[in-house]
Structure formats: C-alpha cells, structure tokens
Symmetry: C2
Subunit: 378 residues, 2 copies
C-alpha cells in the first residue's frame, strides 16, 4: 500500500518542521471542542446510554431529522427515514457506486477528482464526465475537490438530462465561501441522484459521520449494504452530533468556518502569486485547497522530496488525475490552506518556491508518474 | 429490508413493557461510563486533537500496541503493525471474507451461527464446517454465537489441518465465563488464520472498534479494502479506547463482566428449566445467550407475536440457521440474558412459557420459516 509518495507524505505529516500544505485536513483549532464535549457529556448521561449501545443500521432518528431539516432549507424534500447515516462520506460513496455500477461498468468523473472516490471506483472503468457513454456520473457540484469549483447551471442541466444516475458528493458544500451551499442536484431529482453528505469538514472527520440519500427504489438495497458492511455507524459520534445540532446554531458555526477558510485561501493565493508567479490556478469557490498547474513537467517524487527537505509538503497532482496526469502536461499539485497555522502559509509558499526552482533547474522530465495509491488524501 | 420478524423485534425493542431476551446486546449498566468519560476528556485535551481529525487507515498506533500486548498474553505473536483497526467486528468479517473467498465460492459455517456473518457471506455458498469442500471456514472457536460453545482440541486440530483459511471470530472470547479466553487459532497459524476481535462486548458496541489480523501476504490487500470502504475507523472511539486501555486495568474489568454474565446465564437457565422443562439447551461456556431447542415445531412469527403480547421477546432461531431451520425440526430460539434487568429474567421465562403453551396448543406447523433478513441480531 505504501508507495514512495505515501511514505514521503507520512513522514512529512509527522514532522513538526514541515509546513503541511498536504492532506486536505480541516483546521484542528476550529473543531468546536467545548460544544462537542458538552454534547458527549449529555449523551453519556442518558438512561441505557444509546451512545455506547448497538443501534439500527439506518442511524439515529433525531440525527436524521436534523439532516432532513437542513436539506429542506436548501430546497430538498426528503424525509428523515430516507436518510442513511454512514461511516463518513467515503462509505456513502462506496455504497452508492456499488448500487448503480457493476464491476467493469463505466463511471464519468472530472478530469481531476477526489482520490478516495477513484479508489472506491477501482473495479469500474473511468470516463470523462462529458462522454456520452458515461451514464453514471460522480460529481461534486457545490465545491469540487481539488479544483474548488462550482458546477454552472448549464452543466447541471446537461448532467441531469443525460445521466441515468449521478453520485452527488456534497462534502464541501457547507464551505462555499461567498454564496454558501447551492441547491443540490438532489433537489431537482430524487430518482436519479445519490446524495453524499458529511460532518467531516465542519465538526470533525474523526467522528466519521456522513450520510447517504438514494432514490427510493434503491433504499432497501443501500441499507442492506450498510448493515452488511459494518452493521451501523458508530453510535457515540451519532449521539454527539445529534446533541450538538440540538443545542447549537450549526449554521452560524458553518458561516464562521467559511469566513475563516476564505481568508486562508486568499492568503495562500497571494503567497503563490508572489513567490511562484509562473504557476496558474483558479480562485476556489470553497473548500480546503488550491489546484495548481505549474509551468514545467518535473518528477513528482523528486519535487516532493525536495520540498519536504525545504520544510513544506503538498499533495502530488497525479493522485487526483484519472490518466496519470497527461505525460506531457505541466506538473500539477494541490496546496491546502486549511490545516496549517495561518501565519505559516506565506513561509510555506516561499519554501515551495525554493524547492521548485531547484527541481525545475535540474531537468524537466518527460516521464509522467502513474497515479498511485492515495491513502492519505481527502 | 424489514420483514415481519424484524418489525416485531423493532417494536418490542422500543417497548418498555417487554422483557427483552432478544438482541444480543451487552448490559448498559456495565459500560464503564466514568472511565470512558475520563478517557474522552483526556483525548479532547491533546494538542491538534487527533480524536477529531483524520487518521491513517490502519488505526491508532498506541491502540494497536495495546491489542498486540493483550494477544501476546494469550500466546499470539503479532506486531502492532500487523493489526488493522476496523469499524467493529462486522467490517473485519466482511473484509476477511472478501480476501479469501470470491463471489460464488464456498465457505464452511456452523449449523447455527452469527446472522450478520451470514449476511457478509451473502454472495458465497454455505457448507457445513465438516464438508471436505469447505476450504475456507468461519468459526468462533472461543465462544460461539448462538450456542456459546468452545471448540474442542480435536476439532481445532482438524480445522487447522484441513482448511486453507479460517476466519476466527473471537468476539466473545473475553467473555468465556470460567476459564477465560482460550488460546486463539491465530497462535497456531499466522498463515491460515484471519483473526477478528472487538471491544463491542466489553467497552460498548456503540464505539465500533474492532480489529482484523490477516496472514502477512494478505495485509496490504486488507488495508486497501479498509481504506476503500470507509478511509479509517472513527478516530474518536480509537482515542477513547486507547486512553481507556492506558489508564485502566482492562483485564480486571473483563473478569468482572465474566462473573456478571455467568450469574445471569445461571439465572436464565434455572428459569427455563423451571418454566419450560421440555426445552433443551447446553449450558453456554460464555457470551450473552442460550441456544434452545423447543419440543415442537410452531410458526415462528406467531410465537414471537404472542410472546411480545405476553411481554417478552426472543431471537427467532431461523436467523441463525443456514438452512431455514430444518423444516421438520423443533423450533429453535436464542434467549439473551445479557441486557435485560437481572431481576426480570425469571419473569421473562414465565411469560415465555405462557406464550409457548398457547402457541403450541394451537397447531404444530410443518412449514419451516425461511431464514430472513437479520438486521438486529448480534
């Protein structure tokens, strides 16, 4: 499992001298620790402690009620009973894919997309989302990963008109900086959209509370898969999130997160423009990172190694690419502004520029890296 | 998903007037709430709060160290690095089965066994463990579910000699009443045994912390499956269990649980002997329930409905049986002594006897029930 890039990234993640622009992690200082602690204490004081006991596969009813109510405010009509709480968004993606695409079938994905979704689609054949053969799509309409872009109206309409099923991954929807989360595709079609949501980017990924909403005719199969896979999502986290949502203004908290990550994004963009002016990127609409095209093709592992030696890490672009990154295209990468101490962002870009200059000088390589095992990317 | 038996059991589980001898749940008053709360508070106070953050797919290193140390005391040589923390034992069983048996392959299981394992083996062909064709076995050598029996020496030797792979489910091993957990099969063979463990029966199933140890040559594939399925086991529970194990005498706690469940088992056995003397069972070596053969064949759903009306529930035997319960065999059932208030056990048996008398009187049916969706059984 551990390839060379993985080993490098694991080493860097544990090294306090490395400014971590890799990983796609939320900012640990923003976890609402006090509120989650209060929620835990309330959950542990209830009679028979459901937080520690077995629960039904579909998840805690009150939690599903909160999720349904939040979605209703975004124009989605869904009953709490139609929601399945999952062990994070990843399990929801995996189950969704198993429901709508058999081994060897095709799935349309963005040219650059979430690596662990590509892992979940390991047994499928990947196509561009624009291919007429791609009748099942995996999309992140609100805020894509890694590009941080929002699907336009026309693209939404085309996808809904053409696709038989769309797996709508809304993991970053809450973190759309300016406009807030758009109306999900799910609001337009309950029959063709499999919707994936999560509390990982807001309350904390360690809780592993995501959710899945599938077309009603697929619900029983989805629930059976969920039960077969791990019986139920962990009760403790469900109880905590449920108590948290009952006692706090989650939407106000999410707005605070948006402002915070927006400011960080601005800071990283300014630093990249300053220290690496030849690199190009689009300002992200939300999320945790910048998707960058550099101005040369270099060996990814060499660049990563050099960067880590210079005291900064990044996510190699090949991991997000379905085709190994187009062997003649400039090297790509994702830079995350989300988890690093905010006042180190500029220094991170400065170190990256130093490493880039050194690697670029040596020899622009032509050999593209294979897309390899992404175990550590979100 | 919800068949008639399921609906009945769900209704009964939420009804405070029903004495719950169904479900296979641990006793909620025995969860070490205070110690788990202390562990939570310590985990939330650490810098960068790994309890709320993403973690690597294999699980928390210190937790795996504790697991390895406990197994070492039972004669198993395993490194912490060889252990994969899973989202409960169920995920471990599912991954193990996927590693060693392709769709349509055969697996040998006990005549009566854990319903959710049968779910995990949905795409496989079930055989008796004694079949010479069964080269992959699923067994619970320490304490079986539902029978509560321990594999004898000869049977262990035969299984190890004959099978290509054995999935060893040790979920109840800690709760073997008298002798404590036996040496796992894993101690004898690291190359043929896939070992499944859990903290669900001791610290609390709601935590969803289990673990999987596979032959070294299968480790990378197991870890990849784990990451594909749900990225990682929830960090919060891992941090709590890790802190709990560091600060408490877990083995002393487990001994207390054993005595407690042993006493409850004795109480239920005495009550069944008194009120239902025609029923037969073997005294369980450990675990949460009694596996019972009645003295007549009746319609399961009718009996369950009647019992619930009389104020007691049980687990229908058909769910544990691979063949739907042998249509001409007496009706079977599992009675759990584990979760019900201890002083209601006798009254539970009394009510059950009343329901049984009423149903048995009507007409012994010959039509066996199909084994149906067991979503609520452990």
């Amino acid at each position: 499992m551990a390839d060379a890039l993985d080993e490098l990234l694991r080493g860097a993640a544990g090294n306090p001298r490395v400014i971590g622009l890799a990983g796609g992690l939320p900012c640990p200082t923003l976890f609402p620790r006090r509120e989650l602690t209060a929620a835990f204490l309330r959950a542990l004081q209830t009679r028979d402690v459901p937080a520690l006991q077995y629960a039904w596969p579909e998840g805690f009813p009150a939690l599903r009620g909160h999720i349904a109510a939040r979605l209703a405010r975004r124009g989605v009509r869904v009953e709490a009973d139609e929601i399945i709480v999952t062990s994070g968004a990843q399990q929801a993606i995996t189950i969704a894919a198993q429901l709508v695409a058999r081994r060897g079938a095709t799935i349309g994905v963005d040219a650059e997309t979430y690596p662990s979704a590509l892992d979940a689609f390991r047994s499928l054949r990947l196509l561009p989302t624009t291919s007429s053969q791609a009748r099942v799509l995996y999309r992140m309409p609100a805020v894509s990963n890694p590009a941080g872009s929002t699907m336009g109206e026309e693209e939404r309409r085309a996808a809904l008109a053409h696709a038989r099923f769309i797996i709508e991954d809304d993991a970053y929807g809450d973190l759309r900086f300016r406009a807030g989360p758009p109306v999900p595709l799910l609001a337009t079609s309950r029959t063709h959209v499999l919707y994936v949501g999560t509390f990982s980017k807001t309350l904390g990924p360690g809780l592993r509370v995501g959710f899945l909403i599938v077309p009603p005719r697929l619900h029983a199969r989805a629930l059976r898969r969920k039960a077969d896979d791990d019986l139920q999502t962990n009760s403790l986290s469900q109880a905590i999130v449920q108590e948290y949502l009952a006692q706090n203004d989650f939407d106000a908290f999410v707005r605070k997160l948006r402002r915070h990550y927006h400011r960080r994004a601005d800071r990283l963009m300014a630093a990249v423009r300053r220290y690496l002016p030849a690199w190009s990127f689009k300002a992200p609409e939300g999320g945790f990172g910048l998707w960058i095209s550099t101005d040369a093709r270099v060996d990814e592992a060499t660049f990563l190694r050099r960067s880590i030696a210079a005291g900064v890490s990044f996510d190699p672009g090949s991991r997000f690419l379905t085709e190994g990154g187009g062997r003649d295209q400039p090297t790509t990468l994702r830079l995350c502004f989300s988890a690093v101490p905010e006042d180190t962002i500029e220094e991170g870009a400065r170190r990256l520029a130093r490493a880039w200059a050194a690697v670029r000088r040596r020899s622009p390589r032509r050999t593209g890296a294979r897309r390899s095992r992404p175990t550590a990317l979100r």
